[in-house]
């Protein structure tokens, strides 16, 4: 991905991440009034912090090319997508379809984040969690959440 050899890969990518946040901050913060040091405007601190992030991030990355030693551990898409995906499903389902169905889906989908999951087991776990959380959060704690699809 990068045309040169990086010794400290963790720091290199970490630094780039900070630079990215800094650039984001400067770019989208460009319209906020800076003000003066006596009367700081809304943009003063965000811009200062963004530039600081860029400088520090760049320093971390550049230093990482030559110094230190680390690699990014192997990552696997399966748990990332299924765990985060199941919660995204929850976010889009909860208002319209209610707690029971949303919880079932979170449990069912996320359980496949590991390879040991079996269809039947996941269905049962999903039903169990849906019942448990409805009992716990709706009947016991009385949270004002839609239970069934509307």
């Amino acid at each position: 991905m990068i045309p040169f050899h990086v010794k400290n890969r963790q720091d290199f990518y970490g630094g780039l991440l900070f630079v990215a946040f800094g650039v984001f901050g400067v770019y989208f913060g460009r319209s906020y009034a800076l003000g003066t040091i006596i009367r700081m405007g809304p943009g003063y601190l965000p811009i200062v912090l963004s530039y600081a992030l860029i400088v520090i991030g760049a320093y971390i990355s550049i230093k990482a090319i030559r110094f230190g030693e680390s690699t990014i551990e192997q990552y696997r898409w399966r748990p990332i997508i299924l765990v985060l995906g199941s919660i995204v499903i929850f976010a889009f389902f909860i208002v319209k379809f209610g707690l029971v169905l949303s919880i079932f889906l979170v449990t069912f989908v996320s359980s496949f984040g590991t390879r040991q999951a079996r269809w039947m087991g996941s269905v049962i776990l999903g039903i169990f969690m849906a019942v448990l959380s409805t009992f716990l959060f709706i009947y016991l704690l009385g949270l004002p959440i839609q239970v069934w699809p509307r």
Partner: protein, 500 residues
């Protein structure tokens, strides 16, 4: 002195209502539970349970949340000793000698010493809070904006010094946390910053979704990635009571651990984790025969376990007296207080004496409960460990979802949690720690407000921070700390300390 006893009496009378005792027990039990279970820590748990506490009275809510924190320090030791699995980072070092003791058939002694040492530490640190709390609070009443700003600088710098791993990355994480805290409507001008027209962002990012994403979700993904199921070693526990020799060998370690933990807990960035590591190092240095360590030395259990409990409790001191959270858990406690309508800081003791002293008293009661309850319940905790992670993590996810959603019934906050879950995962892969970010995020708005106000007072003269004595001392301390970290020899020492 009589003042303190009167105040403590007030605290005990506030706590010893049936419902408060119940919440203390619930908190301590949940804390022990998550302490036992690897893969979920006190930060994520407190974030998860926070929404549930909104309906409670402030004191009940804080008692329960505090119980989770020190309960976790207790529970973490159980699994470290019995199955060589630290349930909590604060009990990692306990594995070294604790598990060895269990293998030698001395599990009972190790567990009992850990519990008794923790209880002793809990008693001492409760007293310390009672003694030093009022003093610090009255001292900090002289603070105005410049002092508060400098104090927070000191807090953040110490968080950097005491953080594991790279110093410069910790600095960057704090800056990022500060930056994220600025998202939302600017208090002074009403300008919406970085909201992109999304209505949910006008009030700023919530710290619950951030904490849950950074510490809860990313942890789950990382655990799944490693993919190994826990194995349970079933070792019979024989004879719970330590021998006379065990006591003789460990009492000094308990006292030293308590002292060390109490001091490190107060420091910003400190708390349970660093206290236990420091205590282990200290015990090994002081031992006549250091080679015993790693082979079942009881001091290696007694010291760290006392230290982590002392540290987890004294870290309440800066929060309750200065309004300065010293670690991620305290940042969450601060959030809980703010949501309950209590401004953390020196005012707490005067405006809500029952709350302050009630919390102090609840810690002592909670510790007592933990000692009494935990030893008989060890069997149950070990049995719980047999629940495979593949059933556990979907349940944790469900609690995260409902926890965040129930804050404001807002799906957007659930999505924010997802984003921070992903970010937390990337941070973990790049070796960046989440705790400094959360500290920066919590302190950000306060720092901005105090900085702006200080600049207004002084008409833009930055010397205001140095002309005022208290502020100057705080800043000099920050500078010295920062210098020490950057200075190579000290840095090497620090790395050594973390290595061990």
């Amino acid at each position: 002195m009589t003042d303190i006893f009167n105040s403590l009496a007030l605290g005990f009378s506030a706590v010893t209502t049936p419902s408060n005792l119940l919440f203390c027990l619930i908190g301590a039990l949940i804390g022990t539970l998550i302490g036992v279970l690897p893969g979920i820590g006190p930060v994520a748990t407190i974030a998860m349970l926070l929404p549930i506490t909104f309906g409670l009275k402030p004191l009940s809510a804080l008692i329960m949340l505090a119980g989770i924190y020190y309960g976790a320090a207790y529970g973490g030791s159980t699994t470290s000793i019995l199955v060589n699995l630290p349930g909590e980072a604060s009990s990692v070092v306990t594995c070294i000698d604790g598990y060895r003791m269990a293998q030698q058939g001395r599990a009972g002694a190790a567990l009992a010493i850990a519990a008794l040492g923790s209880f002793f530490a809990g008693c001492v640190s409760t007293l310390l809070i009672a003694l030093f709390g009022p003093f610090l609070a009255s001292f900090s009443q002289r603070f105005s904006s410049p002092e508060y700003f400098s104090l927070m600088v000191l807090g953040l710098i110490s968080a950097i010094v005491l953080a594991h791993g790279s110093v410069i990355k910790a600095v960057a994480m704090i800056l990022l946390g500060l930056f994220l805290s600025l998202i939302g409507t600017d208090v002074n001008t009403g300008v919406a910053r970085y909201t992109f027209g999304i209505p949910e962002l006008t009030d700023g990012l919530g710290f619950v979704p951030i904490a849950m994403g950074l510490f809860g979700l990313s942890e789950i993904i990382l655990n799944l990635e490693k993919g190994q199921e826990r194995m349970i070693v079933s070792s019979k526990i024989r004879g719970l009571w330590p021998t006379r020799k065990d006591f003789k060998e460990s009492w000094a370690a308990v006292v030293r651990g308590t002292f060390l933990g109490s001091v490190l807990g107060v420091l910003p960035g400190g708390g349970a984790v660093i206290s236990s590591f420091a205590s282990y190092t200290l015990e090994k240095r002081l031992a006549k025969d250091p080679s015993r360590f790693g082979k079942g030395a009881i001091e290696g259990v007694a010291g760290p376990e006392s230290a982590n409990n002392a540290g987890s409790q004294t870290s309440f001191i800066p929060l309750l007296t200065l309004g300065l959270p010293s670690n991620a858990v305290m940042a969450l406690m601060m959030g809980a207080m703010i949501i309950q309508g209590i401004a953390p800081g020196p005012g707490v003791m005067q405006e809500h004496p029952d709350l302050f002293w009630g919390m102090v008293a609840s810690m002592w009661i909670g510790n007592l409960m933990l000692v009494i309850i935990n030893l008989p319940l060890i069997g149950l905790w070990v049995w719980l460990l047999r629940v495979p992670y593949r059933f556990l993590f979907p349940a944790i996810l469900v609690f995260c979802c409902i926890g965040v959603y129930s804050l404001n019934n807002s799906p957007a906050e659930v999505l924010i949690m997802v984003i921070f879950g992903l970010l937390g995962y990337v941070f973990a892969k790049t070796g960046c720690e989440g705790a400094p970010l959360l500290l920066g995020f919590i302190l950000g708005p306060l720092m901005e407000e105090n900085l702006r106000r200080a600049m207004l007072i002084s008409r833009g003269d930055p010397m205001v921070f140095l002309n005022r004595p208290i502020s100057a001392v705080l800043l000099v301390m920050s500078a010295v700390l920062l210098f020490l970290v950057i200075f190579p020899t000290v840095r090497k020492k620090r790395e050594e300390a973390f290595q061990e």
